[in-house]
């Protein structure tokens, strides 16, 4: 939607305070709640059965159990998140391990990755969108264990892209020598999903 026209009689009643408005990407509105969006039933994964892998085109495949994962340096990540369905949640926080830390020993040998989840969900990301302090695997939201409906026990967090890239119930990252669409990317949504460029759908 590029040019557009004024909607007769529309003034807009839900404007965001100015200090927050500049943190809202185009076409987003500020939401205080944390809506749940999932394409299927919520998988039930107990922390004891959860594990995280890095595989594919890496110098060394890596794998952590829940317990091993919690030995890694833990960070609190304050961030704004933006869902392609138009809501943004500003000033929230998650806790987990930086993907930089996870990739350290694995050493990716190729520029693309597919995040994969318990339950079969996938989403594709370039390695450069996952590194340099831009992505985490998180197990906490605002100081509490991540609720199951929001991806608990662990989800990917890539706050600079639309939130479908932050795969819930994440199980691993597969490093690949080519880019390949994940679940939503194959079903009409943009391959990269930068909210500031409003990359929502294939045609954007």
């Amino acid at each position: 939607m590029s040019e557009g026209f004024v909607s007769r009689g529309f003034t807009g009643r839900r404007r965001t305070p100015e200090e927050l408005a500049e943190r809202l990407p185009p076409g987003q509105y500020n939401e205080d709640g944390f809506p749940v969006l999932t394409a299927g039933p919520t998988p039930e994964i107990e922390p004891e059965e959860w594990g995280f892998r890095i595989d594919g085109m890496v110098a060394e495949e890596r794998e952590w159990t829940w317990e091993e994962f919690h030995q890694l340096p833990f960070e609190t990540v304050p961030c704004d998140i933006h869902c392609v369905t138009k809501w943004s949640k500003l000033g929230t926080s998650f806790g987990g391990v930086s993907v930089d830390t996870l990739l350290e020993g694995a050493e990716p040998l190729a520029p693309y990755a597919m995040a994969y989840s318990y339950g079969g969900y996938t989403t594709n990301l370039a390695i450069e969108d996952l590194t340099d302090g831009k992505a985490w695997v998180v197990t906490e939201h605002e100081g509490e264990p991540l609720p199951r409906e929001h991806g608990g026990p662990a989800r990917l967090l890539v706050p600079h892209l639309y939130f479908w890239k932050s795969a819930k119930w994440v199980a691993g990252l597969r490093v690949m020598d080519h880019d390949e669409p994940g679940f939503w990317e194959a079903n009409g949504y943009h391959n990269r999903g930068d909210p500031w460029k409003e990359e929502r759908y294939w045609t954007d």
Binding site: F5, F10, E31, G40, P41, E149
Partner: protein, 221 residues
Amino acid sequence: MTSIKPETPRVKSFRIELPMWMPHLPGQHYDVRLTAPDGYRAQRSYSVASSPLDEGEIELTVDRLDGGEVSPYFHDVVVEGDQVEVRGPFASYFVWRGEEPVVLVGGGSGVVPLMAILRHRRRTMPELPMRLVYSVRTAEDVIYADELGDDALLTFTREPPDGWTGPTGRVDDALLAEAVGDSPTAFVCGSNGFVEASSRLLLEQGVDPGRIRTERFGPTG
């Protein structure tokens, strides 16, 4: 905007003629964008309720959410003849491509994308087994009341109409068992709580998790 039909006290259906139309898949959505004179904009997504056989137009059914800014505009301001900016159709997972059998499970205005599927099935494959399980609060909350036939199973969670002898209360095992045929594809749409509870029941009935497609709507509009 070619016609506006009140469905319930808080739900209306809007028929929109499109200058550039392409057929949607039943279950897909359109984005609506409103622009104020000073350039301020609000966008939301709405499911298409009509069959893609309705050439050149779409029907969007909109639940009025108090405190929202797009749905109250549709309800309180828009009249026939107005222009609204829409873009679509989008997303291709919560869509029906002719799979059978199918069970549709809707709560409240979650019935909207399911109605597109039901309407399209009636016009293209009327003999195909497809049941709609539809949970509403009271008689006056029933959307598309004049179109629900033997293929719809209603349950009233708060107050059934006078003389109602059918199901009441939340969607349960017995009600779903009646609608779930042999290894169906299930489409479930409603609030997150409704979708969680219903999809759990479907899993208990042995429906393959990979064949349960869900759409959950958030609290705002």
